[in-house]
């Protein structure tokens, strides 16, 4: 019971990464490697702020803000200096690996004895989950509820934001830059803003993961961008073509499903060392499958 709930909690927490990748990759067609660095940046910033005795809510938001700054850097490299998306992300995430180490001070810092946002929420929710009959798993259930609430708020925020004039202009610019420019939008700045939002979400996920697992590690972000893409693709495959709100919910569902698949694979005997390779294979399959399946119809449509 506890393991299953913990799997869910992790899947829900990492859904914030998936939402970030949804924004950068789906809305802006920007394969954003910064994700790996900003996930860690969010975790280490929050951890350092918590250890220094700051309020857990401030510490968590601080982690997200650091991620937004990292995303904006990648966006500026692309929009102002004209560096291509992949290279912009590689440059920033490489620089971030130093930044993360300097911020954290060493490669691993535990949060034992520090009150986190999850501890605080647990204290409030524990009586309710205990009463609901979760028994030993009451604490884990409380964590899951907290993370579900956080992701729910993130989905609502994104849905509402991307339906405002600014958000709609951002989606238009990400979809067809020539159209947005002809209607007066500075597509470079819109991309910077989009990547800031994407990486704020990713860093927020890192901030929560550090608090859920009780430590921050400078290596914890490796492979996050591929993980996020796997969730986005899986979510899209689960629901098919939908509009913005549906796609956001599908992304969260994809993240949880993917986490459950990974947990099952591990239980079935997959060696943990192979986990990232398996994730990469899933993304490869998701990228190639639609092309293989639709090759014929596409060719005839082109004629």
């Amino acid at each position: 019971m506890i393991t299953l709930l913990a799997t869910w909690t992790f899947g829900v927490t990492l859904a914030l990464v998936a939402l970030g990748v949804f924004v950068s990759y789906r809305l802006f067609a920007f394969p954003d490697i910064t994700t790996d660095g900003s996930f860690t940046l969010g975790a280490v910033t929050t951890t350092v702020l918590l250890v220094a005795g700051h309020d857990p809510a401030i510490a968590t938001l601080g982690g997200a803000a650091a991620g937004a700054a990292a995303g904006a850097c990648t966006g500026l490299l692309h929009a102002i200096l004209g560096i291509e998306p992949l290279l912009s992300g590689i440059l920033v995430t490489t620089a971030l690996s130093s930044v993360n180490l300097v911020v954290l001070g060493r490669s691993n810092v535990p949060l034992a004895g520090t009150a986190t946002l999850l501890d605080r929420a647990e204290a409030i929710l524990l009586p309710a989950t205990t009463a609901a009959g979760f028994g030993d798993a009451a604490a884990e259930a409380a964590r899951l509820i907290v993370m579900l609430a956080a992701v729910g708020i993130a989905v609502l925020f994104l849905w509402a934001f991307f339906r405002t004039n600014l958000g709609t202009a951002m989606r238009a610019g990400g979809d067809t830059a020539s159209m947005a420019r002809a209607l007066g939008r500075n597509t470079g700045l819109l991309t910077v803003a989009g990547l800031a939002i994407a990486n704020a979400l990713t860093a927020l996920s890192g901030a929560f993961v550090a608090q859920v697992q009780g430590f921050a590690d400078v290596q914890m972000g490796i492979g996050m961008v591929v993980w996020g893409m796997a969730s986005v693709f899986l979510g899209a495959a689960l629901v098919g073509p939908v509009r913005l709100g549906g796609a956001l919910v599908a992304t969260v569902a994809g993240s949880i499903t993917f986490r459950l698949l990974v947990a099952s694979a591990l239980r079935a005997g997959l060696h943990p060392d192979w986990l990232k390779a398996a994730t990469a294979l899933v993304v490869l399959a998701a990228l190639v499958a639609p092309r293989l399946l639709t090759r014929r119809p596409q060719a005839s449509a082109a004629r």
Partner: protein, 270 residues
Amino acid sequence: MLDVRHATVAFSAPGGPLVRAVDDVSFTIPVGTFVVVIGTNGSGKSTLLGAIAGTVRLDAGSIHVAGHDLTRWRENRRARYVGRVFQDPRAGTASSLSVLENIAVAACRGRPVGLGWATPQRLRAEAAQRLAAIQPGLEKRLDQPIGSMSGGQRQIVSLVMATWHRPELLLLDEHTAALDPASADRVVQATAKLVRDQKLTALMVTHSLEQAARLGDRLLLVHRGKIAVDVEGGAKRRLTPEDLASRFDRLRRADQLDDPAARTLRDLYA
């Protein structure tokens, strides 16, 4: 009003000579005039349109719209006064957004965007009314992704978008070239209606001699980076596609002569 003065755009192919795609071109379009621009491939007509839209940089000269000097303005800033319809429907509309969301972006053309709701009921009602006025049936498709519509329908929506707020100048870049004849005809009719109803100042580049003869108050024929023919008024109304075809023939023949002779001939024909 559009005022183009001594516009020059020069390209140099690697190792090749300097080519003036637009060569010291000057002309003025008074308010409410619909000008059609024709020319062969490589004549410089698309470069001229790009220079007005802001996608091509002028090497010399200036562009004024409604009294504002846009010469150094970036493309997106020019959107404040200039509305555009692209040749490719996919370039002028965002495929994954709904028809209404595309219109919502156009409703903010050249204005700052804020955090207001993009598609309020008021916008939906006005969009439905304007689409119905120009092509009945389109108003029922406001919530569909615009990518699911045909090229002709997308160009109609593009026209509505470009003229949502009356632009000081409407630029039409061969906007029917990618369409089948029936759709092209509908788009041409919609264009004529919008230009007439809103009394727009418009500049349309086209490949179609038939459209060039039928539409507009004035015709510019661009050849080798210069305006070779400029007709308006009664002379423009009497033009037929056959007249235009024979003018093109003569210009091509003139090209085979040496430069001074060609210039003399071109001056005669113009």
